[in-house]
């Protein structure tokens, strides 16, 4: 399976689709901000999900993160978001 890249549409086993909005590396782990997308590939920003991307048997698997980790990662993603906006602004 190919590597997940930003804004790729990921189809899970139950056929639900998510898009990878942001990705960060932290503590040698890869975290991803996923948003569910509908048929029109419209991301649902209210139902975003932070997951960990792990490699298992040469396959990428997404794994839930610890609840306590969510706020920290959310801040990281916010920072990333801000930097992105500032980059565009400049």
């Amino acid at each position: 399976m190919k590597e997940i890249e930003l804004y790729d549409v990921i189809t899970l086993e139950d056929d639900t689709e998510y898009t990878a909005l942001k990705m960060i590396n932290k503590n040698e782990k890869k975290y991803c901000l996923l948003a569910p997308v509908d048929e029109e590939e419209e991301p649902d920003m209210e139902n975003i999900k932070i997951v960990e991307l792990i490699k298992e048997n040469n396959e990428t698997v997404i794994q839930d993160i610890e609840e306590e980790l969510a706020p920290t990662l959310a801040k990281e993603f916010l920072k990333l978001l801000r930097e992105g906006i500032e980059e565009r602004d400049n």
């Binding site: 948003a35 991301p43 209210e46 916010l78």
Partner: protein, 830 residues
């Protein structure tokens, strides 16, 4: 002191210990009741310490009780052997064989007697006047022992005396103060100095005494800890190192403290040391006793000839029983054979009320035995009882009491067997459960009843539990092999996994397990926590509709959600109905007041539980139409909202810029220049076909989109949108808006062609020319950005070109082209 008195003394102590045990059990019960009344936290902070102390004290009392029982039983056994020997000696001998047999029996009984005698405390041993020690020595030893005890008691009593003396001296000083006026100054000073000197001296004594007592207690405590360390088996190398470190530290501390203690007290401490040594030997005792039982049983079986027994007459039978009884009675007596227990200071240990040693009692020993051995013992008791019942009518009281005794022991063994079996089953059950949770440490959670009561000997408990596990495998009626480990995760059908992700927010909602008291329950949440849900990815593909652009449009909603997650809010379990209802109420109220509002943006549609923070956000988002802004402006407003959200976390502003700049607008323009669009026909809910790059679809029936340009005056009749995409897809509709004057001026257009969405703003000097070009090239105008007519006119300078600031100040929002009626296609500027 004669034997009876000594025995009486032990029995008295035993009774006292039992009484104390009852009292402490009562205290523990009360604590248990208290536990039910208050919360766990409150209990832990208030009562846990007391509970631990009580348990500790109970354990010590239990150990003391076991010791006393141990001694009393040993004493009774010695007496029985003595009587048996005497009785056998009186037996008439009819043959050489019988003589030999009796001699062997006597020899055997004497052996047993001596062995048991060795286990008795000195003072008791000597009362039998059989052995080495002379009475003088005994007196001396007693005197020393008494001295030892008196010494520390002396210090304690001295302390009390000194304290009283100090109190008295204080009173004297008070009296002196009162009589100050009645006596001369010189006399007063003299008296006062004398009293003060006395006080200083007494205080000095008091401090010294306290120091001695403290040091004494520290040493005792350290010795106890040392013995614990010595009894503990290191788990690994590191553990061993730590233990060694602790041991050295404790030894140094003992040595340091010994300097402050008089020699006679140190001697008494040596006896404590011996006691602690006995802990170690006790472990060995257990093993040895177990061996002895097996050996004795075997030997007994050999010796015991059923035929001979039948042939014996009643007195012989009785004697035979008495001969056999020490061996077969049960392990509680047999344990006294152990030579390891030949402790010279055993009596002093018993006398020492501060004894903290824990010597496992007989009941514990029985518990320690493997199930296999217990079953064998049970069979033996059963066969013995059966034999005696069949072969005699039990008229002989000795025989009767013996059989009764056997029955009693059979009951005890049966109980322990039942318990063991239950424990084994529990072990297996726990093992299976733990395996299910992928935890191999089953032994820690179960079956501590038969292990030592010392809490800190966890390793021992584990070890013993482990040995029980082995016992399980040894038991014939138990399956020998452990069940294979089940990996629960693997056993879950893969199909079940994706179901979890159907609720993408479950990572926030779940995992709120509470700590339970039991090990098992305590483990469960941990294990659950450990097993994070994993989801396999079925497919990864590139976005067809350029999600990146859509994300930019909805960036504020994303930021708001992230802020909420960062703040720890349950952002993912928002009830959409709440916000929608709230928005509807807001809109309705505003309309009633005659204030025209535009509907909240995407971000305001976030459906959070209505918290003050979120409400504030929602309120911020609801702005009057007179202050309407362009889509770009709305986006920036969203950013500002995020900045102002007080969510309790240090979230830096997303952007520092507060005003619209040309760059910002160009950014939006540029970003849409490369939008990919679907090449297929898109049928939306309203049935209108918006895009078909085959250009078969004609422009809207009533809109000649080629007539609409920047500056055109239009009438709108439909929903307003935050951005050209929403307007194009007719999604995220806001409240249908009609001003009293529905006329608008076009200040931006959204034109779709093969390259995607092209947005042309009025700030572009060639805006209309660009629009024409795009339309001529097959592009289709799908949405327009409108402005308030008055504001547009205010900014109007005779051309279609407006500055970004002017656009920002006059823009109200985007309309779908089908909601627009053209009034003046050429535009007001023309």
């Amino acid at each position: 002191m004669n034997t009876d008195k000594l025995l009486e003394k032990y029995q008295k102590e035993l009774a006292e210990t039992e009484k104390n045990l009852q009292s402490i059990a009562h205290t523990l019960n009360q604590l248990e009741i208290e536990k039910g009344k208050v919360s766990k936290y409150e209990y832990d902070t208030t009562w846990k310490k007391e509970e631990n102390q009580a348990i500790d004290y109970q354990n010590r009392l239990q150990a003391q009780k076991d010791n006393l029982e141990h001694t009393i039983k040993a004493y009774k056994m010695v007496k029985i052997y003595q009587e048996s020997i005497e009785k056998i000696g009186k037996i008439e001998i009819h043959s050489t064989e019988e003589k030999k047999e009796i001699e062997t029996d006597i020899k055997r009984l004497e052996e047993l007697l001596n062995q048991n005698l060795e286990l008795l405390p000195k003072e008791l041993k000597e009362t039998f006047s059989k052995k080495v020690l002379k009475n003088e020595d005994k007196v001396e030893v007693d005197a020393i022992e008494e001295e030892k005890i008196v010494q520390i008691e002396d210090y304690q009593n001295d302390t009390l005396v000194i304290q009283n003396e100090l109190k008295h001296l204080d009173e004297e000083i008070e009296k002196l103060e009162k009589s100050k006026n009645t006596i001369s100054n010189a006399e007063y000073i003299k008296e006062l100095n004398s009293l003060k000197k006395h006080i200083r001296r007494e205080r000095g004594k008091l401090l010294r005494n306290r120091q001695i007592i403290n040091c004494y207690e520290i040493i005792l405590n350290d010795k106890e800890r040392l013995s614990e360390i010595e009894n503990t088996i290191a788990r690994d190398e590191q553990d061993s190192k730590e233990m060694e470190k602790d041991r050295i530290f404790l030894q140094n501390e003992i040595d340091r403290n010994k300097r402050f203690i008089p020699k006679n007290l140190i001697k008494s401490m040596e006896s404590i040391k011996v006691q602690s040594d006995s802990i170690i030997t006790n472990e060995e005792i257990i093993d040895k006793v177990a061996d002895n039982i097996v050996e004795a049983t075997k030997e007994n079986e050999k010796n015991k000839s059923t035929e001979n027994m039948v042939e014996l007459d009643a007195p012989k039978l009785t004697q035979k029983i008495q001969e056999n009884s020490p061996i077969s009675k049960n392990e509680e007596e047999e344990e006294y054979f152990d030579e390891e227990d030949k402790d010279d200071d055993f009596d002093s240990k018993l006398d020492d009320k501060k004894s903290r040693t824990i010597i496992d009692g007989p009941a514990k020993l029985l518990n320690e035995k493997p199930l296999e051995e217990l079953l064998r013992l049970k069979d033996k008791y059963q066969s013995d009882i059966q034999f005696y019942r069949e072969k005699s009518n039990l008229n002989d009281p000795t025989l009767k009491s013996y059989v009764e005794n056997l029955e009693q022991k059979l009951d005890e063994v049966q109980k322990i067997i039942n318990k063991k079996k239950l424990d084994n089953m529990q072990n297996k059950l726990m093992g299976a459960i733990n395996n299910a949770y992928d935890n191999t440490e089953t032994s820690q959670t179960v079956n501590t009843s038969s292990t030592t009561s010392e809490d800190n000997l966890k390793d021992d408990i584990n070890e013993k539990s482990d040995s029980k596990d082995e016992n399980i495998s040894e038991t014939p009626d138990e399956p020998k092999k452990k069940e294979p480990k089940n990996n629960v995760e693997n056993s879950i059908p893969e199909k079940e996994l994706p179901e979890v992700i159907e609720s993408p927010l479950d990572n926030v909602d779940s995992k709120k397990g509470e700590n339970k008291d039991t090990d098992l329950n305590a483990k469960k949440p941990k294990e659950e926590k450990k097993s994070k849900k994993k989801f396999k990815i079925k497919n990864v593909r590139k976005s067809i509709k350029n999600i990146a652009k859509k994300t930019v449009v909805k960036i504020s909603a994303l930021a708001v959600t992230l802020v909420l997650i960062a703040a720890g809010a349950n952002s993912c379990s928002m009830d959409k109905k709440d916000t929608k209802q709230r928005n509807e109420v807001v809109d309705q109220t505003d309309n009633e007041n005659g204030i025209i509002t535009y509907k909240s943006t995407t971000s305001t549609e976030n459906n959070y539980d209505v918290s003050p923070v979120e409400q504030e956000t929602a309120e911020k988002k609801t702005e009057s139409y007179s202050e309407a802004q362009s889509q770009v402006n709305t986006e920036l407003e969203s950013k500002k909202d995020i900045q102002t959200m007080d969510v309790g976390v240090n979230v830096e502003p997303i952007t520092e810029k507060s005003s619209e700049t040309e760059e910002e607008i160009s950014q939006y323009t540029n970003q849409y220049d490369v939008v990919n669009t679907d090449t297929e026909t898109n049928n939306l809910d309203d049935g209108i076909i918006y895009l078909n790059n085959t250009s078969e679809i004609a422009p809207s029936e009533y809109n000649d989109n080629t007539s609409i340009h920047i500056g055109s005056e239009v009438t709108v009749d439909g929903n307003i949108h935050d951005d050209e995409y929403d307007a194009y897809y007719n999604e995220n509709n806001q409240t249908s808006y009609y001003g009293t004057e529905p006329k608008r001026v076009v200040i931006g257009t959204g034109i779709v062609n093969d390259d995607g969405m092209n947005v042309i703003y009025a700030y572009n000097p060639d805006a209309n020319q660009k629009i024409d070009e795009l339309l001529n090239e097959g592009g289709e105008m799908v949405s327009i950005l409108t402005a308030n007519k008055e504001k547009y006119l205010q900014n109007y300078d005779g051309s279609t070109t407006l500055t970004p600031e002017e656009i920002k100040s006059s823009a109200e929002g985007w309309y779908n082209i089908n909601d627009v009626s053209i009034n003046n296609g050429k535009g007001m500027s023309r």
